[in-house]
């Protein structure tokens, strides 16, 4: 599964008739076959290159070595525990930051005044590479999971806030006027227009934030940690164990894809009208 196949899926859901759907399924199957073929060719070529000595296995790793390393880590339970540590910290930080940031951005709609005052701070924080805060965060929160959660939170909060706030600015003034003509209170306008109209912006921030949360979390693990995929990659890299580095990187990739799938599922659930 890749994100491209998600896209096809989305279209497929919107199609009511079975005929084009079948056609698309057929298409999907064919595309996946091609993708599998590309991966297979790459792996075989890589392995051959290593076996014939064209590529240095010590510097590049090898598919066989990666497979053995992955199996070893699975058997010892290290891979699962590392993955769980990273996944947990990422998800908690991501959820707190994305939901908290979105809510803060939405609430800024209430007061243009407050929004204007804090605007430069938000812009400054947005421009700052959040990973630069890692040494400080680790001093404050320790080298355990809490500091990683905090880093993922900071990395996602501002993005979510900005996106939600910008979303509230894109709302059609006519919709708000219509609500006013019906005698709606500001609270009703907020709940019935502002929040649903901003949801697509919030979801797209969620999408971006998966990446930001992972960057912050892994960055934090690189600097100081006792567990996790980031630590595993960092340590293996220092030991020139390229196969173990690959195991970590490929697992991270799976984690990222899994998170994208979850957000896409949530999106389809929250935005049923967006199936255009």
């Amino acid at each position: 599964m890749s994100t491209a196949s998600l896209y096809t899926r989305r279209i497929e859901v919107s199609a009511d008739e079975t005929k084009p759907r079948k056609h698309q399924d057929h298409h999907l199957w064919k595309e996946n076959l091609w993708r599998l073929a590309i991966v297979a060719v790459l792996i075989v070529a890589w392995q051959f290159a290593v076996d014939f000595g064209w590529v240095n296995a010590f510097l590049m790793g090898s598919p066989g070595g990666i497979a053995i390393e992955a199996w070893r880590q699975l058997q010892s339970g290290q891979l699962l525990s590392d993955t769980w540590t990273t996944l947990y910290a990422t998800i908690v930080g991501f959820l707190l930051g994305s939901i908290g940031g979105s809510m803060a951005g939405l609430l800024l709609w209430y007061s243009r005044h407050v929004a204007r005052i804090i605007d430069p701070f938000v812009v400054a924080l947005n421009g700052l590479p959040k990973i630069s805060l890692a040494p400080m965060i680790i001093i404050w929160f320790g080298s355990g999971m809490l500091s990683k959660v905090a880093l993922a939170f900071i990395a996602t909060f501002i993005v979510a806030l900005l996106s939600a706030y910008q979303g509230t600015h894109q709302i059609d003034a006519n919709l708000v006027n219509l609500m006013r003509s019906l005698g709606a209170t500001k609270r009703q306008i907020f709940l019935k227009v502002v929040v649903p109209a901003t949801l697509p912006w919030i979801i797209s921030a969620f999408r971006l934030n998966i990446g930001f949360a992972l960057i912050a979390e892994i960055g934090g693990e690189f600097i100081a940690s006792d567990k996790g995929l980031g630590r595993s990659i960092f340590v293996a890299g220092n030991l020139f164990n390229l196969n173990a580095v690959w195991v970590g990187v490929l697992t991270l990739m799976l984690v990222a894809i899994a998170l994208y799938l979850v957000v896409s599922r949530i999106e389809r659930h929250l935005l049923p009208w967006e199936s255009r």
Binding site: S181, G183, K192, P196, L271, W273
Partner: protein
């Protein structure tokens, strides 16, 4: 102000009472440019909108029709003059329903939930408001679309839903601002007819703002022709063709339709050819 009534015999139109629903009394409106200089948009409008009548406001584009709409819709305050509902009430407390060129259906709500919007805002309990909305949709043959999202409907259907959403809240007056201008010609003719019959069944006071002379004549009891900006009422025509003939299409094929069209066209044409203010 001299008012010409070219079709004097239509002055006594059945079911249109002489009571005044909305009275605009020397209403003026000006905006301010960046230097703070006033830019007059409405010079002076004095107009009585009668109870249960269908009146159209026709004017050259950019004449300030939208500003007039916003003032009647309670979205803007006039700079001077007064606007009253049923003689005594100030317009502020009035419930004015409106319908624009864009249907303004909420894309995240189903058709049923869209129709229920006004009732929801008014605090009608969920079960009751949904039942009422379903009833209304059934009455106008839109029940099949109750659970669909707006983007799956055609423009004409969406406008019908928008009208029902407006009517279900039982507004004092209904304002239509170019409601058909985004539709193709055939849909427009069909919809004119349908909207008029829906409006008649509710017996509402309706104000239609349009630049389409034909539409105004085909649908209205009266037509007010506006001058260019800063605008005021140039002339009032008693029409009532569709009310007496029973349909907009019949009104359009009536010989008086063409006569009125030419007269109103001439009213507008003089201004368009005249010096810009």
């Amino acid at each position: 102000m001299t008012l010409s009534t070219p079709l004097r015999e239509t002055a006594a139109i059945p079911s249109v009472g002489a009571d005044v629903a909305i009275a605009l009394d020397h209403v003026e409106k000006h905006f301010e440019d960046k230097q703070g200089n006033p830019i007059p948009v409405i010079r002076d409008i004095t107009l009585d909108i009668r109870e249960h009548e269908f009146i159209s406001i026709v004017g050259p584009s950019g004449c300030g029709k939208s500003t007039m709409f916003n003032i009647i819709a309670n979205l803007l305050e006039p700079s001077a003059g007064s606007i009253t509902l049923r003689g005594s009430h100030p317009i502020r407390g009035a419930h004015i329903g409106y319908m624009l060129q864009r249907d303004l259906l909420f894309p995240w709500r189903t058709i049923l939930e869209n129709v229920a919007l006004g009732l929801e805002v008014a605090g009608v309990p969920r079960a009751r408001r949904l039942a009422m909305s379903r009833e209304h949709l059934e009455r106008y043959n839109l029940a099949d679309f109750a659970d669909a999202y707006p983007h799956t409907l055609s423009g004409g259907m969406r406008q019908r839903v928008a009208l029902i959403r407006t009517l279900i809240t039982d507004p004092d007056v209904i304002l239509l601002d170019e409601p058909f201008s985004a539709l193709d010609y055939q849909t427009r003719l069909v919809l004119e007819e349908e909207i008029l019959s829906i409006l008649k069944s509710f017996d509402k006071t309706v104000v239609l703002i349009t630049h389409d002379i034909g539409e105004a004549i085909a649908m209205s009891d009266r037509v007010a022709v506006m001058t260019q900006r800063p605008t005021s009422v140039k002339r009032l025509y008693e029409v009532g063709l569709s009310r007496r003939l029973g349909s907009c299409l019949k009104a359009r094929s009536d010989p008086r339709y063409q006569t009125l069209f030419d007269q109103i066209w001439a009213d507008l044409d003089i201004q368009m050819g005249g010096p810009a203010s």
